[in-house]
């Protein structure tokens, strides 16, 4: 059994890992649709998007692994960071790790995350870190398509049949309490802003609400009231679902260290 790696407590590294893990964990969740899509074409579309997200995670984890070596810790490669961390060292917001649910739940979460990622990539294109800016330039094209795909489906389902609408309302109510975490700042954000690495997450809130509000309006879905609940995945305190996700995701690398195929 492969032991877990240790991550140095540097804010720049945490900033990269939050973004990388958002891509990695939502890619893992989307991948669960492979072979289970409602129709063949959608099955392929969801798998394509899962692979886009995992590709983004790979680039970011590679960069984070190099930065880890440069800020006093050990250097790591993408696989070590993806598969050999303990749960508390994953920095994705809790929204990304929630079980995939039904198609409406997946579509609405994709809408929330792809809109957020699109806004993030747009701003990271101006990062003082040239490698991060290059990753953002490539990822932005992918996120734009993910957002369009999710928004179109959200409108079809929200303004669709009684059943599709009912499922959207249920999914939106379950997802919305996890959205404030996408826009909360802490010392990690302050350090990223100070170094011109990227935006504080709170800066994405207004444009995100505007874009999501527009899609939900077209889908005839009401924007839920602002939640009081606060999730804390990006600080490493995850929901009960995260352990199961990691057990499945990490199993091969833990059981067969360094395994490649």
């Amino acid at each position: 059994m492969q032991a877990s790696i240790k991550i140095p407590a540097a804010p720049e590294l945490a900033y990269l890992l939050r973004l990388a893990d958002t891509c990695l964990i939502s890619g893992q969740r989307l991948g669960e649709w492979c072979g289970h899509g409602p129709i063949l074409e959608e099955d392929i579309a969801l798998s394509n998007m899962a692979l886009d997200l995992i590709g983004q995670a790979r680039a970011l984890l590679t960069l984070a692994g190099q930065r880890s070596g440069q800020c006093g810790g050990q250097g790591y490669d993408e696989d070590q960071l993806a598969f050999l961390r303990d749960e508390g060292d994953y920095r994705n917001p809790t929204l990304a790790e929630l079980p995939r649910g039904d198609f409406a739940f997946t579509i609405l979460r994709n809408l929330m995350l792809s809109t957020w990622l699109k806004l993030m990539w747009q701003r990271l294109g101006e990062s003082s870190d040239a490698e991060l800016a290059a990753i953002a330039g490539k990822a932005l094209k992918e996120a734009r398509y993910h957002q369009q795909h999710a928004a179109d489906w959200a409108v079809r389902l929200g303004d669709g049949s009684d059943e599709s609408r009912r499922r959207c309302v249920v999914a939106l109510d379950r997802l919305w309490p996890y959205t404030p975490e996408l826009f909360e700042d802490d010392a990690v954000d302050a350090a990223a802003v100070a170094a011109d690495l990227g935006p504080a997450w709170a800066q994405l809130r207004e444009p995100w609400l505007a874009e999501i509000g527009e899609v939900l309006g077209e889908a005839k879905l009401a924007v839920p009231p602002a939640p009081t609940f606060r999730s804390s995945g990006k600080s490493g305190r995850h929901s009960e679902h995260m352990g199961y996700l990691l057990a499945e995701m990490q199993y091969l690398q833990r059981a067969y260290p360094g395994g490649a195929w």
Binding site: L40, E41, E42, I44, A45, N48, Q148, H149, D152, R156
Partner: protein
């Protein structure tokens, strides 16, 4: 006819490759409307860099020749080799015809 609405209409997909000039037929798919059909065509038929442009056409909008007319339509051309422009002497100054 109660089940005519239970299935999405069929669309034919045409993809133009990066270097290509023409859109080539590459398959078909079911989609609720044109916008969905274009997106699905993108996801299903261009995921391995096959294309830089996609057309979709409702399959029921395509008027095809009747397979039963194949003999009458196409066989008479078989022995008309003179319809190929290969029997003309071109001046040397005309290249690449």
């Amino acid at each position: 006819m109660s089940d005519t609405n239970s299935e999405w209409p069929l669309w034919e997909v045409f993809v133009r490759s990066k270097a290509g000039l023409d859109h080539k037929h590459c398959g078909s798919l079911h989609a609720a409307d044109a916008r969905m059909a274009v997106q699905m065509a993108r996801d299903v038929y261009t995921r391995r860099q096959e294309g830089s442009s996609v057309w979709v056409v409702r399959s029921d909008q395509i008027i095809a020749s009747d397979p039963g007319d194949k003999d009458m339509y196409f066989d008479p051309a078989e022995d008309k080799v003179y319809r190929h422009p290969t029997f003309y002497k071109l001046p040397d100054s005309v290249d690449h015809m």
